[in-house]
């Protein structure tokens, strides 16, 4: 799990970013080569996050990331969905939605080219 300050990233120049992506590429390749790699993904920034909870059979959707310090990250699903509504409909079925919170966030997709 990778944590960082988005504000710092936003201040970086294009060449800084290219350099960092290069380093990530080399790192990923190295753990692929050593057969340690299973999967990875870069999340879009928290501004794209939506949080979902189900309480008393009613679903509550809110803008923004999950921000409750008394609960901890306990797992994740990587899914494919045609839009946010489809993703939320799936998130709603996660058993923990009944007592915990499900943060839904898109991955950064690299365009071919």
């Amino acid at each position: 799990m990778i944590y960082g300050n988005e504000a710092d990233v936003a201040k970086m120049t294009q060449s800084d970013l290219v350099a960092i992506y290069g380093e990530y590429g080399r790192f990923t390749q190295s753990i692929k080569d050593s057969k340690n790699y299973i999967g990875s993904g870069q999340l879009q920034d928290v501004a794209t996050a939506t949080t979902l909870r189900v309480r008393d059979g009613k679903r509550m959707v809110t803008d923004g990331p999950f921000a409750e310090t008394r609960e901890q990250l306990g797992g994740y699903y990587l899914i494919q969905a045609k839009d946010l509504d489809e993703a939320l409909a799936i998130a709603e079925r996660i058993p923990s939605a009944l007592w915990g919170s499900i943060e839904v966030r898109p991955l950064v997709t690299r365009r071919p080219g």
Binding site: A47, T48, V61, T62, D63, D83, L84, R111, G113
Partner: protein
């Protein structure tokens, strides 16, 4: 043809269809803006087209195509080329039915629960109502760049988080429609509450909310709660002129000159509410509209059916437990059964402490004490309210009452 009124009428429809065609909110907004600029240049010279909507959609679509072509030259091309092909090959459906769907999609996207509520309101005013960013910023008393930033952020979220441009499926429709109605209601109350700011800007918000209410009733004619919401706004708005004094001072319901009430709006609102109730509307807007209707029907304040109003507040309180509704109920009970009964209810609310710091709580107590002839206590309560009040019209009202009861002690 007056371009201003044309803009008002066509903006939403043209934008809604352009978003459907392009799937891109931001790009569409810019393109529609450009299309209107082009219309401003060409129509006075060449004459207005027979179908302004079709002309504007086609102009906006061409702008989008131009933009995507330019972008394809600079960036990785696949995405833009795919968008372009889709855009150029798909026939433009400009039928009445498609236009209705486009507008609904636009409204449901702006009022999507994954967007923060204040941003939903701002985006709806910008996108569905066609207000400028400046107008919205002035209405909310925030600097224009801050409002512009808020709108940019929300449009980014729509794009990056993949919010669908779609009418929700049937099983989701009731809850999503609740969200839409809440936004319309908030636009209205923002205009009606006169928390501060210039009155004319606020009036524009009320007018926009009513316009939105009408539009929704047109688009979803079978929904009784929507009709109740429109009735509620019309009945409240009918008192707009009467509820502000010459210096924008607040004039309470009982002191209002009822001849100033807009009979046209009342005549539209009452039958709307009746039809909504007949069709089973029983939600919070219907109850509030029913209360407003009882006021509208009373030619003089003495004719008001306070008992019935208090009973409606009871039901409203069950549906929407809120200390503010409780406070309104206490005021109605006081009118029906006398100030001392109302004061008991207010004391009970005070004990709970949920409204601590809310100026209307001591203000309501002060009004009841005044009615009861307890001048000294009333003055003290008005002073408490004055310490908490944040806006000028209400401060002026409280000051006037304070002076009045001080004169009597």
């Amino acid at each position: 043809m007056n371009l201003e009124s044309l803009y008002r009428e066509e903006w939403r429809r043209v934008l809604a269809t352009t978003v459907r065609l392009t799937g891109d909110f931001d790009l569409s907004e810019e393109a529609v803006q450009d299309a209107f600029v082009a219309a401003l240049e060409q129509w006075p010279r060449d004459g207005a087209p027979a179908n302004p909507y079709a002309w504007l959609v086609s102009a906006a679509r061409n702008r989008v195509v131009d933009h995507l072509r330019r972008r394809a030259r600079f960036r990785d091309k696949q995405t833009e080329i795919a968008q372009l092909t889709a855009l150029e090959e798909s026939p433009i459906d400009l039928s009445e039915a498609a236009m209705v769907d486009d507008q609904l999609r636009l409204i449901f996207t702006c009022c999507h629960p994954a967007i923060a509520l204040d941003a939903q309101v701002a985006l709806t005013l910008r996108t569905v109502c066609g207000l400028t960013t400046e107008e919205i910023a002035r209405g909310f008393l925030v600097p224009v760049p801050a409002m512009a930033q808020r709108l940019v952020r929300v449009k980014r979220k729509i794009r990056d988080a993949g919010l669908p441009f779609a009418v929700p499926p049937r099983d989701r429709l009731p809850e999503r429609l609740d969200a839409v109605m809440l936004v319309v209601y908030l636009v209205f109350t923002e205009g009606y509450a006169a928390t501060s700011g210039k009155v004319w800007i606020r009036r524009q918000f009320c007018e926009e909310a009513i316009r939105l209410g009408r539009l929704l009733c047109e688009l979803i004619p079978r929904n009784a709660e929507l009709r109740a919401l429109l009735a509620l706004m019309l009945l409240h708005d009918s008192r707009r002129v009467a509820r502000a004094g010459p210096d924008e001072e607040i004039v309470t319901l009982e002191e209002q000159n009822r001849e100033l009430w807009d009979q046209r709006q009342i005549a539209e609102g009452l039958p709307l509410l009746e039809s909504a109730l007949r069709d089973g509307a029983a939600g919070v807007y219907a109850l509030q509209a029913a209360i407003a209707a009882l006021h509208a029907r009373a030619a003089r304040v003495e004719d008001t059916d306070w008992g019935q109003i208090a009973r409606l507040y009871d039901v409203l309180l069950q549906k929407q437990p809120s200390p503010v509704v409780e406070l309104n109920r206490a005021a109605a009970v006081a009118m029906a059964d006398g100030p001392s009964r109302g004061l008991e209810l207010i004391a009970a609310i005070e004990v709970k402490g949920t409204l601590a710091g809310y100026h209307l709580l001591p203000a309501a107590r002060a009004d009841l004490l005044r009615r009861d002839g307890r001048w000294r206590e009333a003055a003290e309560a008005y002073r408490q309210a004055l310490c908490l009040v944040a806006n000028d019209p209400e401060r002026r009202y409280l000051n006037r009452r304070l002076a009045e009861v001080e004169g009597l002690t």
